[in-house]
């Protein structure tokens, strides 16, 4: 049995909240517990929900202006001075614009700066492709020393924020703009580097990160009606991977589907594929953005168009299980 306390309203009438709101609450809470926590923003304070910290601790908030390279390098210097800086912007700009500064002055320099990339994925919607960051998972997970987390809902985002506030490592937290269903509860566990089995099944493992975990759960319900019992594993920490949980589920079902609201090249699905190809090569299908950019539209239209809704994922998984044999079964 899984010990992850799924929200009992998760499917019928889910409560909706943007993942970024959980970050806002978490940072304010972390700020109460630890005076070394400071927050910097590049002109997107309300949008990234950092205003909750700013309003509570104005003396520990620093406005950097529209200057993402300066945002992360100033934070690096503050970390050297003993602070735990959180820096927020849209993921397209940070780490999109300032990747080299993050590489040299935070990752290689090994400073515990917390990089918060909001508005990741196509569900940003009408702003269009420039603002729909899809490459951030790939950019950040290739950096040594960097921890990469994509929380599944706002409740988990709050816990993840509190966790990175005290992990003493460079860390990247990926957030989404739109309201999404809350599938976890206050009692659900969250630990950096842990994956969670949300639903058990024998036929295929569906591994989701960020906003896609909920869609995987929806897909699993649809698949069950068609006689396919899918196991759903939520993988909020993309780096370091919870190798034990991932391997155990993959071994059990013998075939894996991953989903992410990001480029499949270099992203979460790639991380799972790299790991399993080393340990237990088996059929794997990666759902996500297939080497193309997003575009303007409503979040629902875009998720539907790019095959990222529960229904579309159920179709893709249905096709996959018809073709792909289960590993050593």
């Amino acid at each position: 049995m899984t010990d992850f306390a799924l929200n009992d309203k998760a499917f019928d009438n889910p409560e909706l909240e943007p993942i970024r709101a959980g970050f806002g609450r978490g940072l304010k809470e972390a700020g109460k517990k630890d005076e070394s926590i400071v927050a910097l923003c590049a002109d997107l304070t309300e949008s990234t929900k950092m205003h909750m910290f700013r309003d509570e601790f104005p003396e520990r908030f620093v406005q950097v202006g529209v200057a993402e390279q300066n945002l992360v390098t100033v934070a690096s210097g503050m970390a050297r001075a003993g602070k735990t800086p959180f820096v927020s912007s849209y993921a397209a700009f940070s780490p999109g614009r300032n990747w080299e500064q993050i590489r040299t002055t935070i990752a290689l320099n090994n400073q515990p700066v917390k990089i918060i990339g909001s508005h990741a994925g196509v569900s940003v919607g009408p702003d269009g492709a420039t603002h729909q960051m899809l490459e951030d998972i790939a950019l950040m997970r290739v950096l040594p020393n960097m921890v990469v987390i994509a929380p599944g809902d706002s409740v988990e985002a709050e816990k993840a924020t509190l966790a990175i506030a005290k992990n003493n490592h460079p860390s990247y937290l990926r957030l989404a703009r739109e309201k999404t269903p809350i599938f976890s509860t206050d009692d659900s566990p969250f630990e950096i580097g842990k994956a969670y089995v949300l639903r058990e099944g024998d036929d295929v493992t569906l591994m989701g990160t960020g906003t896609m975990t909920y869609q995987m759960l929806v897909a699993a319900n649809i698949l069950a009606k068609n006689g396919v019992q899918a196991e759903v594993v939520h993988v909020p920490t993309i780096k370091p991977l919870d190798e034990k949980t991932i391997l155990a589920s993959a071994r059990k079902t013998g075939r894996v589907v991953t989903a992410e609201e990001a480029q499949i090249a270099g992203g979460f699905g790639s991380a799972i594929t790299e790991f399993l190809s080393d340990q237990l090569p088996m059929p794997i299908k990666r759902i996500g953005m297939q080497d193309r950019f997003g575009e303007s539209g409503t979040p629902d239209e875009l998720l539907e168009h790019f095959g990222l809704t529960g229904e579309k994922i159920a179709d893709t998984v249905g096709e996959f299980v018809k073709k792909a044999h289960q590993y050593h079964r």
């Binding site: 400071v38 202006g65 300066n70 210097g77 503050m78 001075a81």
Partner: protein, 286 residues
């Protein structure tokens, strides 16, 4: 720290130059012109200006020195060795496998370094972050943050983001030093991408600007102390230097920016330095 007199610092700078030549020759790669040009400034920093303890590099009351133009790190390594952070013999490991003296400085490899640098234009931001922390978070006014920049790296946009930031927050405990030697890899700075009017640019960003001869130890020390005395804005010292200073065949020649001396050139360079470019005869040469 071990404070020296001005004549002693001048002598120290020449010893540092000798070590730079020896290190670079042994390494077989690295940058010659910048480090030689900065020897007087580094000697003044580590033997007068900075407050530090080489046996306790993370001493909480220390002044903080950030190197932004990481490629000039041989001058910092040589100066740190003379200042007592580690043995002079270790200088011969520069750029070698397993060495703490990486080709570009890495904070985690060598105690006493405050940052990792090499890619240009990020040091001022890091120094500004530290200075902001002292001044506005912790309200500690007894410590100062120094940052060395090259003139070529002022072409990086990141530098000006930091300049704007430091100006806005009046980071008076931040003192920048620009190595104004007018060269970069592809040629003279004013040909590659003109930087002038440098003074006007920094003033426009809200900085207190000083122009000095970067080989005059007394001027360097005075400028730093003026910088510390200014309490309402950051200070930048535009230090005019001669690239390759002390070795006449390297001086002013941008080709020596990214090149080490071979063994013959090193021998000649060491002679030039020992004799101060032929101005004095050295007993060892008779």
């Amino acid at each position: 720290m071990n404070k020296l007199t001005v004549p002693q610092i001048e002598k120290k700078a020449n010893e540092i130059r000798l070590d730079i030549i020896r290190m670079l020759e042994k390494a077989g790669s690295g940058h010659s012109a910048g480090p030689l040009g900065l020897a007087d400034i580094f000697a003044a920093l580590y033997f007068d200006i900075l407050n530090y303890d080489p046996k306790n590099p993370d001493w909480p009351d220390r002044d903080v020195f950030f190197l932004s133009n990481g490629h000039t790190v041989p001058v910092q390594y040589a100066t740190m060795a003379h200042a007592g952070y580690f043995d002079i013999e270790e200088l011969s490991t520069l750029r070698k496998f397993g060495s703490r003296l990486q080709g570009h400085p890495e904070r985690e490899k060598l105690p006493g370094l405050e940052n990792t640098s090499g890619p240009l234009g990020s040091g001022l931001s890091q120094a500004a972050g530290y200075a902001y922390s002292l001044q506005h978070f912790d309200k500690v006014d007894s410590r100062f943050v120094y940052v060395m920049m090259s003139d070529g790296e002022l072409e990086e946009g990141n530098t000006w983001e930091a300049a704007m930031f430091a100006g806005k927050y009046k980071l008076s405990q931040l003192i920048g030093i620009i190595d104004r030697n007018n060269i970069q890899i592809d040629g003279n700075t004013e040909d590659v991408m003109p930087l002038e009017d440098l003074r006007a640019k920094w003033e426009a960003f809200g900085w207190h600007v000083l122009d000095i001869d970067g080989h005059n130890v007394e001027s360097i020390i005075d400028a730093a102390s003026m910088g510390r005395a200014i309490s309402n804005r950051p200070t930048v010292i535009i230090a005019h230097t001669i690239p390759g200073k002390g070795v006449d065949f390297m001086e002013y020649d941008y080709k020596w920016h990214g090149m080490p001396p071979n063994s013959e050139q090193a021998k000649e360079a060491l002679q030039k330095l020992r004799s101060l470019n032929g101005k004095i005869s050295h007993e060892g040469e008779r």
